[in-house]
Amino acid sequence: MPDAPLAGTPEIPGAWTTGTLVDVRRDGRLAYLRLALETPFTHAAGQHCVVRLRAEDGYTAQRSYSIASAPGDDHLELCVEVMPDGEVSGHLHDEARVGDTVEVRGPIGRWFTWGGRTPSIAVVGGTGVVPVVSMLRHARTLGTGERLRVVAVTRTLAELPYADELLAHGAFVATTRENRGDRVAATPYPDEVAPLAAGVERAYVCGSPGFASYGVRLLGEVGVRKDIIRVEQFGPTG
């Protein structure tokens, strides 16, 4: 993983700014949120931000969420999965509505980012697709979509965030609990992933810790060097 720092000055996360919800869409355990920021910031595809909720009495709770919108989007888009007893995700999923305000700070994380040109593969599971959706949208803007190959793993297609967008991009989607066409339900086989990994200069793995271990192992099996793999993990941290 030794890697030169990014060229140029690393962008410093700004101060907290107010985000107003301009769109809220719920789909099962997921909530897709779009926010207008009072003081917008420019993120790189793959970065995350912190969302802070404040109660009337001043009590606050904050969590990190990956950004789904492309760099340059007028709004900040997040996809939040509701966690069991999730203090912040529960509120965003069950209660939040258009016009509500939250506090937002970002952009954060200069490591799990894709500039849009390096030939790369991404292996993602569950809401781990979110930062990669930002990368895909960025690639569409640049016209470099063929440089990012995506392997998405999900139990069923219905549970995969941004499923239509991923499929439209040509992502390889492996469903593990339902057959899709001729493909019997299973995690990706090395021979399905190998052609996508051929010639890549970087690999991204994003998902739960269990998924991340699996994704790194899978990439290893198809010959991707460990030192080009960048990992982003998240978990049900309340």
């Binding site: 909720l53 404040r54 203090e87 209660e95 991340a212 309340g238």
Partner: protein, 204 residues
């Protein structure tokens, strides 16, 4: 500051009041895994730690060598910059004081860079890893530290955000000047004191 309509939140139990730094939440018995790189799987006999750089004698210990030194246990709290804290947990290893004493820091040594077998690095002022505030540990709650949490051997500097507690630590380099480590180059704070919320570059 804006209030989020309808948000009440979950208050922490009174017994834990005062133990959570600002902006942190309690994960209870959980211990999230956050790692930027592919996780190495090392056998115990592949583990060694070197203290070098500005010292009178660069010294290397195998894991067995370290385990033969007087043990020291940290029982307390840990805080991750991603906003989780784990309260009341225990790690056992050896105090970094002991290792630094053996290597003999030169007068002009003022910082350390901790390096992992993965190439991960993090920088700390020397005064923050001395005086009983830093350890290398191989045991968590009486069991070998698992690989996803940095086992067999990780640095433990619990008074700072947990990215400073380098997993799979293999070298402690003493330096005269502050050399930003991995996350520090990617926009995280140079010191990382959770009680003053030094999360990112530019935080006071």
């Amino acid at each position: 500051m804006p209030v989020t309509r309808g948000f009440t939140g979950r208050r922490r139990p009174v017994s834990r009041e005062g133990r959570l730094p600002p902006g942190q939440h309690d994960v209870g018995d959980g211990w999230p895994v956050l790692t930027a790189e592919a996780e190495p799987h090392l056998r115990d006999d592949q583990v060694s730690l070197t203290v070098g750089g500005l010292v009178t004698s660069t010294t290397t210990w195998s894991l067995a060598d370290l385990q033969a030194l007087p043990h020291s246990t940290y029982a307390g709290d840990i805080h991750c910059v991603t906003s989780w804290s784990k309260l009341g947990t225990r790690f056992t290893g050896v105090s970094l004081d002991l290792l630094l004493e053996a290597a003999g820091p030169l007068e002009r040594a003022a910082y350390v860079v901790a390096e992992s077998v993965t190439g991960y690095t993090t920088n700390l002022p020397l005064e923050h890893v001395t005086g009983g505030r830093a350890w290398v540990v191989w045991d968590h709650e009486g069991r070998p530290l698992p690989p996803e949490h940095g086992g067999p051997l990780r640095l433990l500097v619990p008074h700072l955000y947990f990215w400073k507690s380098a997993k799979w630590v293999s070298r402690i380099e003493l330096t005269e000047v502050d050399r930003p480590g991995f996350w520090e180059r990617y926009g995280y704070h140079d010191l990382g004191d959770p009680w003053t919320e030094q999360r990112y570059v530019g935080d006071a």
